[in-house]
């Protein structure tokens, strides 16, 4: 039976059950909505290149998790993406550094669509011929993302922050790395990570939770499998690997990111606490109501594209901020200066309470998005907490928590600065 839990502060009801095969299922019930959304994810992403299978360590090429995601849609009787589209659903998939997810949204035939989703993700069907054919398609995709300034900028930042953490490696890999991928590689990765105990199923919509768990029981293997161990290398020090990395591209305005390395998260409920502290710290440091944001905007150094956030992965966490500017170095100097000031002077009670309200409100509002609900529930499951407990975790955070975080993190040793500058053409310099 699925267990029903009410979250009155969020006006949400969420059902949960862990099947005998180890699969956790979350169903966020959304009355009156036309659409339903299903999200089936594995705790396996671009950074999990080295892992143990059947007692043996395997090293796989960069980009294999993403490659596998592309090939999962192949079924003995056709392409699952086309089958879902033909029944009116909008299916898609993505691979991030720590997670691969398959999802669809639909207004009709939810149950048969769900059956198809669970079936194709749990069916490895790779022929060498189709794996080879994919090289060209993924090669083109790699070319396109390498041309994307936002992607380049983020990767420069990761290279600046980290010395050897696998986060530095592109999720899609390179033209060269993917050329080593075979049907056998994909089959090994699927066996290591695509078993119910390493996955999570999250549903949002006006659906019957018992039907969801019945379908999952029917389609997925009944037996639990052992978790595959992953190796992400030796822990990183807290110092950034490089302070400044720069690249020229075809853009009209320069763009920058400044990152500060933070302590990796512990597993369990504390992980959510650390995430919320990091987010609050970022807002207090240079969010839209901060003094430094106002100063930079007034001086025309930043525009509306400026933003701040906090990101975390297994073995890595960091604060990052940036946007378009005509003078990246000057903005970075002013931000570092402000960081020092905050470390000396701390933050006011008033600002702390105000930002806490703002971050809380924004988290609650985000639950409008079915995708957001499911992604957060899935990430929480992999890290060891139920995401819908965030209001109580927010309550427990004090100004002292945030000040300690800022004091630790906002130092030049932990900082990395990445920028994309416009290519200078002869005629533009006239």
């Amino acid at each position: 039976m699925m267990e029903r839990v009410n979250f009155p502060r969020l006006a949400e009801t969420c059902y949960f059950e862990r099947l005998e095969n180890g699969l956790p299922i979350y169903v966020a019930v959304k009355p009156e909505f036309e659409k339903s959304y299903a999200f089936f994810a594995t705790s396996y992403g671009g950074m999990d290149m080295r892992f143990q299978l059947d007692g043996k360590w395997e090293d796989t090429p960069a980009g294999v998790a993403h490659y596998l995601e592309h090939k999962m849609f192949d079924m003995p009787d056709g392409n699952a993406l086309m089958q879902l589209s033909a029944s009116g659903a909008s299916p898609n998939a993505f691979t991030s550094s720590a997670l691969t997810a398959y999802h669809f949204e639909c207004t009709r035939h939810f149950e048969s669509n769900l059956r198809l989703l669970l079936t194709f993700v749990s069916t490895p069907y790779f022929t060498q011929e189709s794996v080879n054919k994919e090289q060209g398609i993924i090669g083109q995709e790699i070319g396109m993302i390498e041309d994307n300034p936002g992607w380049q900028l983020f990767h420069l930042l990761l290279e600046g922050l980290y010395d050897h953490h696998p986060l530095r490696v592109s999720v899609a890999g390179s033209q060269e790395s993917i050329s080593h991928i075979t049907a056998e590689t994909l089959e090994h990765c699927h066996r290591a990570f695509y078993h119910p105990g390493n996955m999570v199923l999250c549903i949002a919509g006006d659906v019957d939770p018992e039907q969801v768990s019945a379908i999952a029981r029917m389609v997925l293997p009944a037996q639990a499998r052992e978790q595959a161990a992953k190796d992400h290398g030796a822990p990183e020090t807290m110092n950034a690997a490089h302070f400044h990395l720069s690249r020229a591209m075809e853009v009209s305005t320069s763009d920058f990111l400044l990152g500060f390395k933070a302590e990796p998260h512990e597993a369990g409920k504390n992980a959510l606490r650390m995430e919320l502290i990091g987010e609050l710290a970022g807002e207090l440091f240079c969010g839209t109501s901060s003094a430094v944001y106002q100063k930079l905007y007034d001086e025309g150094l930043i525009n509306k594209t400026f933003g701040v956030g906090y990101d975390n992965y297994p073995g890595a966490a960091f604060l990052l901020m940036g946007g378009e500017t005509d003078n990246p170095s000057k903005v970075v100097d002013l931000l570092l200066e402000e960081g020092e000031r905050i470390r000396q002077q701390g933050i006011s009670d008033e600002a702390f309470l105000r930002c806490k309200r703002a971050c809380y409100g924004s988290r609650v509002r985000s639950l409008n998005s079915f995708e957001h609900c499911c992604v957060q529930l899935a990430k929480g499951e992999f890290k060891g907490y139920h995401y819908y407990h965030f209001p109580e975790v927010f309550d427990s955070i004090t100004k002292d928590d945030v000040e300690q975080f800022l004091n630790r993190v906002l130092t030049k040793e932990r900082a990395a600065f990445a920028e994309i500058l416009p290519k200078t053409h002869g005629k533009d310099q006239l």
């Binding site: 502060r9 969020l10 006006a11 959304k30 009355p31 009156e32 909505f33 036309e34 659409k35 086309m82 589209s85 033909a86 009116g88 639909c106 207004t107 009709r108 083109q140 041309d147 075809e250 853009v251 009209s252 305005t253 969010g287 839209t288 109501s289 901060s290 003094a291 944001y293 106002q294 905007y297 007034d298 025309g300 525009n303 509306k304 378009e324 105000r354 930002c355 309200r357 703002a358 971050c359 809380y360 409100g361 924004s362 609650v364 509002r365 985000s366 639950l367 409008n368 005629k427 533009d428 006239l430």
Partner: protein
């Protein structure tokens, strides 16, 4: 259940109110609705950005942001849109829904007041808008206009529109152009602001859990000081222009690695036409979906394009085919796109293709009800077209479209202009960049 009410708050001021408990937030908008014109488009585009810098109460962005943070991280953003030959500008906002506010202090009245203040009580100096705000937002606007060249897909569509509708207001971009943006100054902008405030049609919107009576009251109070003159801006979209006998072809060269081909058709059919549902279905069969003919044939079967899709403008009665490909494939791609259109016209699609297209578009309309911003967008279009059809009504009309309706609709689409974006083959400098470079020298 959700209830939609549309009322007139005062002459030329409409309120659309949707009461629902589905969402975690309340969603708001306040827009001035004006004719799209080359001379005023940039002025209208810069105004909400200048107004968003500060009010009498909260003269700086820092103070405004702090006040919004206090309201559980409310967000108010400037917005500018183009609907056919109508431009609208103002603010869209989202707040935590009153049902979920922890300390039981409803946000409703405070949110409405902030929206009203932003439009009606800006920070001023010597009776004018603040010069420093005007200067800095003019720069931001000009940067945005210039950066339109960064996204080549969008840029190609915009250039086709400019060429195809050169003599029509529709050719003007929603942000205006650099030459009129350069004319923005504090005196002229303040004058313009006062004038549009009293003459433009105004549309207010709310979607959330509050009682519509309370919403109406909150908006009335917030807009109490809105000046109203008897003169009202005329709004209309000239959509009847049919394509000329000869197709116009425009080629441009930029430093790009992938070519873009955009084709502009006149459909003669708008939201107000009887044939609108048939056009939506025909477009879905032709190029509006991943299961459409364009995607299936031009991209998947022939691998001619990296992308190929079609989209309609329901206000102006146009249809655009957008695609990206290798330079040497232009001719073949164009031939194939037209062949696919011919196939739709001749009814060369299966019953299940038709049904899949109808299911997909009717589902799109029904899911509008699942998003507050999609509903705002939907009701703005309805208001601009002076219609009151619900998404459910359109959704069921779509389900009644027949094969013959769709064929007939596609037969009426007439190719007007084709735009090619190619790479730099020879040293010949492309016109677009030269114009921009000159503007920069003068600015």
């Amino acid at each position: 259940m959700q209830d939609v009410s549309r009322i007139e708050l005062s002459p030329g001021v409409g309120l659309t109110c949707i009461q629902t408990k589905k969402f975690k937030s309340s969603f708001w908008s306040l827009r001035l609705i004006l004719p799209l014109k080359k001379e005023t488009a940039a002025f209208n585009a810069v105004l909400p950005r200048v107004l968003r810098r500060g009010t009498v109460h909260y003269p700086t962005m820092e103070q405004l942001s702090a006040a919004l943070d206090e309201l559980y991280g409310g967000v108010i953003e400037p917005t500018v849109t183009k609907r056919g030959e109508v431009q609208s500008f103002g603010f869209v906002a989202t707040f935590l829904d009153d049902g979920l506010v922890p300390d039981d202090l409803p946000l409703l009245d405070r949110a409405a007041r902030m929206m009203g203040d932003l439009l009606l009580r800006p920070a001023t100096k010597n009776g004018r808008l603040r010069n420093d705000y005007v200067v800095s937002e003019r720069k931001n606007l000009m940067d945005d206009i210039r950066s339109s060249v960064n996204d080549k897909r969008q840029y190609a569509r915009q250039r086709l529109t400019e060429e195809m509708c050169a003599g029509e207001a529709y050719g003007v971009d929603r942000l205006g152009d650099l030459s009129s943006a350069k004319k923005i100054g504090v005196v002229k902008l303040t004058q313009h602001y006062r004038q549009v405030l009293s003459t433009a049609r105004v549309e207010a919107y709310y979607c959330g859990s509050a009682d519509p009576k309370r919403v109406e009251q909150a908006w009335r109070e917030a807009l109490m000081e809105l000046p109203r003159s008897n003169e009202r801006c005329e709004l209309s979209t000239d959509w009847r222009k049919t394509a000329g006998d000869e197709v116009r072809r425009v080629t441009e060269h930029l430093d790009v690695t992938q070519g873009k081909l955009v084709m502009g058709f006149r459909t003669g059919c708008t939201l107000n036409s009887m044939g609108y549902p048939a056009m939506v279905v025909a477009n879905a069969i032709f190029g509006g979906l991943p299961t459409s003919k364009l995607f299936q044939n031009v991209r998947e079967r022939l691998s001619l394009c990296y992308y190929a899709s079609s989209v309609t403008d329901k206000h102006k009665g146009l249809l655009f085919v957008q695609s990206g490909m290798k330079f040497e494939d232009f001719e073949q791609a164009e031939t194939e796109i037209l062949a696919q259109l011919e196939a739709v016209r001749e009814g060369d699609f299966s019953e299940s293709d038709l049904q899949a297209a109808k299911d997909a578009v009717s589902s799109t309309f029904r899911t509008i009800l699942d998003s507050q911003s999609a509903q705002e967008d939907y009701w703005l279009s309805q208001a601009v077209s002076e219609l009151k059809l619900t998404p459910q009504e359109i959704s069921s009309a779509l389900e009644h479209v027949t094969r013959e309706d769709a064929m007939r609709s596609a037969s009426q689409w007439k190719l007007d202009t084709v735009y090619y974006l190619k790479g730099l083959e020879q040293p010949a400098v492309e016109t677009a960049q030269v114009e921009i470079a000159e503007e920069e020298v003068q600015a």
